[in-house]
């Protein structure tokens, strides 16, 4: 009974969105011939180090289209999801173009807040996008965003410290555990800082055992299969054996500080912390001391979650065509080359990686191999809420006494509760 109502409701919403957006597409096509004009408001979520450059880039759109006025608004990453939902749901104050985290696209699109971009000027040379990056822009067969930058996790390591201990860069977590023992005995330091506070960091361990959170095609919760428990067990083992240290809160600050100060030899982290790591005392005077390698493998494979940012057009924008053109510009090869040159961010277009200035970029060198192996997350509307249950059980396993199997089962039960309207098994 419940199922039937949910399905009909979903169908009704979809149908309505589709028809309404169809109408919009028509009007924008008519306007397609003339010169674009008007104001376009852009919400940018880049971090403090990046926002100056993004503002300049966004405003340079006005040079190409003198009749357009770009209104750049910076929104903190942490608040952006809520702010956009409040504005779009309340039908007031939503931007025309939004910088959308890869996991948000499905969520926003599901609520009808985003305009589909297939066949519009926004989607330009779509074949050029990296496959993983393009995957996050699609929801239920339609494209709701264009990729701007991509990222993933890598293993940061302190070259000097590994050398002193006489170990190489670990290719697997088993190897890492062995190396950690040597590091401890030779240097007295801990091998790895393990982020125990943020569920995103659970994913490399889960993927390493060949698992995933859910299987959206089979509509099945998979986190409580064998790999889920193995992933929790692996994390617990690293901490219990002394190979890694962890915290259940403030992991971002504590982890980066421990790595900067040389208290730990390695940390799993993303490109956004490269600049921060290099400011630490271990790396300040010797930038070459910082190495980045792909995330170590588990017993099955090596895999780290794909992150990054897309650009979406708000379904209620009054200036559809200008917004589409702006999204196209912000995702263009030219702008991506610029963000790599100026901010060392990873482009989402294959062609940009061929540019000499991009190929020679150190961060790209570091992270391109990792990005190529990045695992796509389940792009479902509920994707964001799946993290809370994982966070709780990570706490329970790492600081409480819960067994990995129990923890994985508990996460699975919570997922089924969250996904009950979608009938996940």
């Amino acid at each position: 009974m419940r199922r039937v109502t949910a399905v009909t409701a979903a169908a009704a919403v979809l149908a309505l969105t589709a028809t309404a957006c169809g109408g919009d597409g028509g009007s924008s096509d008519n306007a397609g011939k003339g010169e674009i004009a008007g104001t376009v408001t852009y919400w940018d979520t880049s971090n403090d180090a990046e926002k100056g450059t993004y503002k300049k880039i966004a405003e340079d759109f006005e040079k190409k289209h003198p009749k357009v006025d770009v209104k750049y608004v910076h929104v903190n990453f942490g608040d952006a999801n809520q702010k956009f939902k409040n504005a779009a749901g309340g039908n007031s104050g939503a931007p025309d173009v939004m910088r959308t985290e890869v996991a948000w696209v499905a969520d926003f699109a599901n609520l009808g807040y985003l305009a589909p971009l297939d066949g519009t000027p926004a989607l330009d040379d779509a074949g050029d996008y990296l496959k993983t990056a393009a995957g996050s822009t699609r929801f239920k067969g339609k494209t709701y965003a264009v990729p701007q930058v991509t990222d993933t996790l890598g293993l940061f390591y302190n070259k000097k410290m590994l050398k002193e201990a006489g170990v190489g860069v670990p290719g697997s977590f088993d190897e890492l555990k062995k190396s950690a023992k040597k590091i401890k005995s030779k240097t007295g330091k801990t091998g790895l800082y393990l982020r125990g506070d943020d569920p995103y960091w659970f994913l490399p361990y889960l993927y390493g055992e060949g698992g995933d959170l859910v299987d959206p095609t089979a509509k099945k919760v998979t986190v409580d299969d064998a790999p889920g428990a193995k992933a929790f067990a692996r994390m617990k083992d690293l901490v219990d054996s002394g190979a890694a240290v962890t915290d259940s809160s403030d992991g971002q600050e504590n982890g980066l500080k421990a790595f900067q100060d040389g208290d730990v030899a390695m940390i799993v982290d993303g490109p956004w912390d490269i600049a921060g790591a290099q400011q630490g005392k271990e790396f300040k005077d010797d930038k070459d001391n910082l190495g980045v390698a792909p995330v170590p493998a588990g017993s099955k494979a090596a895999g780290s979650p794909q992150g990054g940012w897309n650009l979406s057009v708000y379904a209620g924008t009054k200036n559809m065509r200008t917004a589409q053109e702006f999204a196209k510009y912000m995702s263009s090869a030219e702008v991506q080359q610029r963000t790599t040159e100026e901010l060392s961010l990873l482009p989402t277009r294959e062609s940009v990686y061929d540019k000499p200035s991009v190929r020679g970029n150190k961060m790209v060198e570091f992270f391109k191999p990792a990005v190529d192996e990045a695992v796509q997350r389940p792009w479902i509307a509920e994707g964001n809420s799946l993290f809370e249950p994982v966070r709780g059980q990570m706490d329970a396993v790492l600081t409480g006494g819960r067994s990995p199997e129990e923890a994985a089962d508990k996460v699975g039960d919570d997922f089924r509760k969250l996904l009950k309207d979608q009938d996940y098994k």
Binding site: L16, L111, S249, G316, G383
Partner: protein, 350 residues
């Protein structure tokens, strides 16, 4: 003299507060209707009431209107939503020119049945009760002790008084972030001090037990100033002659405290305890900003869980969250009723 103003005037505003809008109008209007009702019919009664009290009603109307809009409407809407399956994806939305009508259904008491049948609610409720009792108890004892100390003639009394009030002057979220830095397991000041004393680092926010201690400590720190101010006021209302007379009769300090100070404080303290119980029960910022309910939900109270349902989960689950809100309201109302009963039995005029 002073004791008369505190104990004598205290119940009057309390009664006025309780029914600040309808109280006076209803009281006198009702009496009048009874008297006139015996004389003439319904229309005459109404007409007379209007002609006699129109001025009072006109004065009250704006307040009733404002409260109806900012309290009544959201409350009723919340109760209604709690009886549906509304979430972010099926409520009415207007997106530019697109209009998506509401498609949620009335589901009766389904939400309540599933909440009350789930151990999650009872676990949260258990901890919320412990948290409230712990915070209010410690805050009250500490506030009372400090107030008694500050009520004497000590050197630098005004300095201490101002010092005690400072936590009140700082926005709660600022204090909470400051505390979070102190509690940091690896780099926090508290653990560095302990380390200096040769004690191992305490996982303040990482261990379920210590996290509970930590959140209660911070809330006590935030709540004590209010308690001191209220208690100081009450203490100053107790006439000195009583103490002098007791001393003449040979009562010791503890006897004087038990038989004069405590009874003299009762009128104020009962109200203050009720208020801080309600505030603490719903103290969102301390828990959310300090631990986000962790580790593993061990510090999650009812309101932070309701927040998680309606803001962190996606699509936002409005209906279940509203049902949690209604349950919290019911629990607090029940508590207030029981508490008032208990006080009345003790002879408090309330």
């Amino acid at each position: 003299m002073a004791v008369e103003t505190t104990t004598g005037s205290r119940p009057a505003p309390a009664a006025g507060d309780g029914g600040s809008t309808a109280g006076p109008g209803r009281g006198s209007g009702g009496g009048d209707a009874d008297r006139t009702g015996r004389k003439s019919g319904a229309s005459g009664r109404l007409g007379r009431a209007v002609s006699r009290y129109w001025y009072a009603w006109a004065m009250v109307a704006p307040v009733v209107g404002v409260i109806g809009v900012i309290v009544g409407y959201p409350l009723l809407r919340g109760v209604y939503l709690s009886l549906t399956d509304a979430d972010e994806a099926n409520v009415e939305r207007v997106i530019g020119v697109n209009h998506l009508p509401a498609t949620y259904k009335f589901t009766g008491l389904d939400n309540y049945v599933s909440i009350l049948g789930d151990s999650v609610f009872w676990d949260r409720l258990g901890w919320t009760v412990v948290w409230t009792a712990g915070c209010v108890g410690v805050t009250f004892v500490l506030g009372l002790t400090l107030a008694v100390m500050l009520n004497r003639q000590v050197r630098g009394r005004s300095f201490y008084r101002i010092g005690m009030i400072v936590p009140w002057g700082i926005p709660a979220f600022v204090s909470v972030f400051a505390w979070k830095m102190l509690f940091n397991e690896k780099n926090g000041l508290l653990n560095q001090v302990l380390d200096g004393g040769g004690i191992d680092a305490v996982p303040w926010l990482g261990d379920p037990f210590w996290a509970k201690v930590a959140v209660i400590a911070v809330n006590v720190w935030l709540g004590v100033p209010f308690m001191i101010v209220a208690m100081l006021g009450a203490l100053q209302g107790i006439p000195g002659e009583l103490y002098e007379a007791a001393e003449m009769d040979g009562a010791g300090p503890w006897q004087r405290f038990r038989n004069i100070t405590l009874p003299g404080l009762r009128a104020v303290s009962s109200t203050v305890v009720l208020l801080s119980t309600i505030w603490t029960f719903n103290m969102f910022p301390v828990i959310y900003l300090l631990t986000r309910g962790g580790p593993e939900d061990s510090t999650e109270i009812l309101v932070t869980y309701a927040f998680r349902l309606s803001f962190i989960n996606s699509p936002r689950d409005f209906a279940t969250s509203a049902a949690w809100g209604v349950l919290i309201l019911v629990l607090l109302s029940l508590f207030t009723v029981v508490y008032r009963r208990a006080l009345r039995r003790q002879g408090e005029v309330w």
